[in-house]
């Protein structure tokens, strides 16, 4: 029994939660939804325990640090923040309609962490550049931001499905009917992007402060820095389009997809460009 074993179980639990949310959408009824939430909470609790365990193990190895230092650990944490965001919204709004598009993102992150080639799940010591108190605050805030954008992305997909439904109400099925209304999806997109944006901004600021101490400049146009700024700009635009007539709704939903693509490139794609942030060398 180890924390990596728990984490592989969590991957399956999240998949199960996704299937249950899907059943709820297709078959209806309260019980599927309750089971789905139960699975989501169980997985989240187990994942939290596993992350804390891994943290503790690193200290017993004498190289103690928060488990946020490599691709594997950050992927696991990404899944954790997505679930945190999802469960928070579910609790706050009392609606279980978001799970079917958001929980699979957490599942995919977990699955990627365990099966992608070149992802090392061992606890490694920190190289000199990472030995900083800013590591934790930088990574946590960035991923809280990413989680908000992941949630908005899920809502954006729902928005497009729902508009397809609104165009042809006669052959609409149960799944589409059970999606939240366009107005509430629009509101949810705006709010999760606003939350994600505040966190991303703090994430970039903490990263800049760290870079000021580690790399000699608060901004070096390293590809990851640049891409985080591109992502920031995409969401800044998204938050401003509501002031342009007729841009809310479909266009904002489209921007959630553009934005999340940029998030994924910032997180993963950039590793294939040369730079200071690269996980791959």
């Amino acid at each position: 029994m180890s924390h990596t074993l728990i984490l592989s179980w969590v991957t399956f639990i999240y998949f199960g939660a996704f299937v249950l949310y899907l059943f709820r959408m297709i078959l209806g009824g309260q019980s599927w939804g309750k089971l789905a939430s139960l699975a989501a909470w169980t997985g989240f609790a187990a994942q939290t325990a596993a992350i804390l365990w891994r943290w503790n193990v690193s200290y017993s190895l004498g190289i103690g640090h928060a488990p946020l230092s490599n691709l594997y650990e950050s992927m696991i944490f990404f899944a954790w923040t997505i679930m945190l965001f999802h469960l928070f919204i579910e609790w706050r709004t009392g609606s279980r309609a978001f799970g079917v598009f958001v929980v699979p993102l957490a599942f995919l992150a977990m699955a990627y962490a365990s099966i992608a080639p070149g992802v090392n799940n061992e606890i490694q010591p920190l190289i000199p550049a990472l030995q900083s108190n800013w590591l934790t605050s930088h990574v946590v805030t960035c991923f809280m931001g990413y989680a908000g954008f992941a949630f908005a992305f899920g809502c954006g997909l729902m928005y497009f499905l729902k508009t397809a439904d609104a165009d042809k109400p006669e052959n609409s099925n149960h799944f589409l009917k059970r999606l939240p209304t366009l107005a509430s999806l629009d509101l949810m997109i705006y709010q999760s992007i606003a939350l994600g944006f505040v966190f991303l901004t703090i994430g970039i600021m903490t990263g800049s402060i760290w870079a000021h101490y580690a790399w000699g400049s608060y901004w070096s146009w390293d590809p990851k820095e640049t891409w985080s700024l591109i992502t920031w700009i995409v969401y800044a635009v998204t938050l401003h389009v509501q002031y342009i007539k007729g841009w809310r709704g479909k266009r904002m939903a489209a921007l959630t997809i553009v934005g999340f693509t940029s998030v994924l490139f910032t997180y993963l794609g950039v590793n294939y460009l040369p730079g200071l942030h690269s996980y791959l060398n």
Binding site: I63, Q124, P125, I127, P128, A129, Q131, S132, L187, Q191, A194, L195, F197, V198, T201, I202, M205, S208, H212, Y213, A214, W215, G216, S217, Y218, W219, W221, P223, T226, W227, L229, I230, I233, V234, A236, V237, H240, V241, Y243, I244, V270, L273, P274
Partner: protein, 460 residues
């Protein structure tokens, strides 16, 4: 004239312009991450056809983040933000100063049922307990009586109306700070061997050398590794000297820069270079080997014979033959002989049997009857320091602080206005709650909370 002025103003205050500028900037940055920039651009440019290469060069695509296009975009964005903010400021100020009463028209029509609370208490008792509850919860409240209705008015987070200007101003601060940094700042690199002192720093562009008014000595460089071989610590023990007197001493590590006289020093790289000391052995004929440790410029006398040896050069890799030391030997008769002593001369001579006859320069036994052997060249660490001065940092930091504060204020503490109306509904007393805010969800939460408080107090 006024027409042009108005249309210019409306052009620069347009939010569409902001969106277009931001998108063009994002695209430019993307290009910058795919085309190698600055130091690494040269090699890439040579692989392109000359036409494309010079086009890219003209557009500044090899240094996107310092290109004229980038500065033009920054300037336009700054202008756009300024005009846009100035245009909207009076509206926000008016909203901030709006009197609490009269209540906005239609505010209390079509209220959802949960915003209307009914009580059997008489109106006076209800009013006094409600007023004290509101005062306790919100502090300053305003009261108005009109046509049999009593109104209370509350405002929260009025400052939030101005948060957007804080965020826009923060961007201007950051742009200004970055421009100040790139105009008045300095970035350079210097390698200092252990025991060496310098005050000359190569600037980043490599074109000039910057002379500090103090100097830096590297006393020691330490590299520590973990058990698995990963690097653990890079550390330079430095002494800063002015007029030969130490002014500062400290251990420089990654993540822990040292500030001296307005410059920041960073542990940037390290390396090891030969050229410290060489260990030479020599023997006379079949005699016993003698051992000497030497540096460049050292002189010593050979035993038995009185010849005088001077070390001319110590090379880590001479013509790909490996480590070598060049000697100048002066015989007692005043004759000078110069030759190289290569560490791997035996292997080399085996590979190139003709070498020693064709090039006696490489014969370690050229000064007969002596023969020299190079045992090793000691490696000497050097530390690579990055030296930075950026007077724009405080302005950028102020901008960052302002931006985060502004965003939190805007998104988490939105401006809310709440009105509570008390009137009679038949024999009952009716309390109605309503409000206005840009942020409806936050307003709803606030009103829910107020409704719960009224119920908990036993007012209804």
């Amino acid at each position: 004239m006024t027409n042009i002025k108005t249309s210019l103003r409306s052009f620069f205050s347009s939010i569409r312009l902001t969106v277009v500028l931001l998108i063009v900037m994002a695209l430019l940055f993307m290009v910058g991450t795919f085309i190698p920039q600055r130091e690494s651009a040269m090699e890439f440019a040579q692989r392109l056809s000359p036409g494309i290469s010079s086009l890219f060069h003209a557009l500044g695509l090899f240094d996107v983040y310092h290109s004229p296009l980038y500065y033009v975009l920054l300037g336009l964005l700054a202008l756009n933000l300024t005009v846009c903010s100035l245009n909207r400021l009076p509206g926000s100020w008016k909203l901030y100063r709006t009197p609490h009463f009269p209540v906005p028209e239609g505010l209390f029509s079509k209220l959802p049922p949960n915003r209307v609370l009914l009580t059997e208490q008489n109106r006076e008792a209800c009013l006094s307990s409600l007023e004290s509850l509101l005062k306790a919860s919100y502090g300053a409240i305003e009261k108005d009586v009109k046509g049999g209705h009593v109104f209370f008015s509350i405002r929260k987070a009025g400052l939030s109306l101005f948060s957007v200007y804080g965020v826009h101003l923060s961007i201007l601060f950051m742009i200004a700070g970055s421009v100040i940094g790139s105009v008045f700042g300095f970035e350079g690199y210097v390698n200092i061997g252990e025991g060496e002192t310098t005050n000359l720093i190569d600037s980043r562009n490599g074109r000039d050398i910057h002379r500090l008014d103090f100097s830096v000595r590297c006393d020691k460089f330490t590299l520590e590794t973990y058990a698995n071989g990963m690097p653990k610590t890079y550390r330079s023990d430095l002494t800063f000297l002015k007029d030969g007197q130490p002014i500062r001493q400290g251990a420089l590590m990654v993540n822990h820069p040292i500030h001296v006289n307005g410059y920041r020093f960073y542990q940037s790289s390290f390396g090891s270079a030969p050229g410290g000391r060489a260990v030479l052995n020599y023997s006379k004929g079949k005699g016993q080997e003698e051992k000497v440790a030497v540096s460049v410029g050292d002189r010593f006398d050979l035993k038995e014979g009185g010849a005088h040896v001077e070390i001319l050069r110590i090379e880590g890799n001479l013509m790909k033959f490996g480590p070598g030391v060049k000697l100048d030997i002066a015989s007692p008769q005043g004759r000078h002989i110069q030759f190289w002593v290569l560490q791997h001369i035996d292997e080399i001579a085996e590979m190139y049997p003709e070498l020693l006859t064709q090039f006696p320069l490489f014969d370690p036994a050229l000064f007969k009857p002596y023969r020299f052997f190079l045992k090793e060249i000691e490696q000497q660490y050097y530390t690579g320091l990055q030296v930075v001065r950026d007077p724009g940092v405080p302005l950028v930091a102020l901008g960052a602080f302002l931006m985060v504060t502004g965003l939190i204020l805007r998104h988490f503490m939105p401006h809310r206005r709440i009105w509570v109306r008390v009137d009679a509904a038949g024999r009952q007393t009716r309390i109605s709650l309503a409000g206005r805010s840009r942020h409806m969800a936050a307003l709803d939460r606030e009103l829910d909370l107020l409704g719960r408080r009224i119920q908990e107090k036993g007012i209804v």
